[in-house]
Symmetry: C2
Amino acid sequence: MKRGKVFVISGPSGVGKGTLCTELMKLYPDLAATTVSVTTRAPRPGETDGVHYYFRSDEEFDRMLAKDMFLETVDKFTHRYGTLFSEVERVLAAGKNVILEIEMIGGANVKKRIPDAVLIFILPPTLSALTDRIVGRGSESAEQIRIRQAQVETEFDQAKPYEYFVVNDELDLAVERVKAIIVAEGLKADACDVKKQYFGR
Amino acid sequence: MKRGKVFVISGPSGVGKGTLCTELMKLYPDLAATTVSVTTRAPRPGETDGVHYYFRSDEEFDRMLAKDMFLETVDKFTHRYGTLFSEVERVLAAGKNVILEIEMIGGANVKKRIPDAVLIFILPPTLSALTDRIVGRGSESAEQIRIRQAQVETEFDQAKPYEYFVVNDELDLAVERVKAIIVAEGLKADACDVKKQYFGR
């Protein structure tokens, strides 16, 4: 069975990558499988360990970190979330793709451990579109916008290992572009392997 | 302006690559521009030199060959056809893609002169599907099929520089796959170039 691929979706905060990933999976659920993450938060009613999340204590999470078991981790408020390397490997081996929506530095780390991971950078239509969205959140002054733009410039400097750049001008178009990348990457193959499939040698 | 890319569509004869290219351009005319080829055949009524073809004599065609002006040439019956390197370069510089449907060895040659050319190999659903089509043409015996399969195996050996492999099981699906490759390849970029577009430095 042909191995799946990891697709890392990154981009400056406010660019809409979360919405893009959600919409992509809603429209094309067969494109990729979801992985079960580890979290330090308590299960909510109806949530099952190993199905919705692996619910682990802070101490267990620390031990997993020390053992380098995570492909990436993220802190949200007082809780931590992590994607297990073993979990991703299991899905890839089953021939399914994995989409990971992660921060910039995380993308480079994934590439180190999974060299054929495909890194996709989501771009705003313009730089001001990005800060406009932040202003829309009503939390930033002119000075804060200047600082934010400098941050974005730094984020762009970290985009070096990213191969694909998708402008999120309209959600529908951006979803179709990311879909095209995932489909096209699935069509890449080695000529020798293809020949073997047809001729058995 | 972002430069276009050359997409080479190749595959064993009888795989349906001609139909695939025609359908692709009919459904998605904006994906790529057409180039004007050189031919040694006489213009038909209504055909204009420089619009439909560059109509040239056999001697002129030989001179152009000697000057290495062709990206690829093909013989059809008593006439010759050639794609001019300068013509392709002109279209690419204008930011348009070029699709070239060519024989296997031609693909490797294109890659030598245009290193970022994207080579796509069209595959039959099965090896027998390929020879069945030939039998359908009513021109081959069992022995001829064996010879044909050996030829196809040789063609596969030449597929090494090809990066993408598209199975032509159903025309509609195959067209969408090739379209995805062209869209995805257009989204590849260098992080530094992208940054310059946003920050001007």
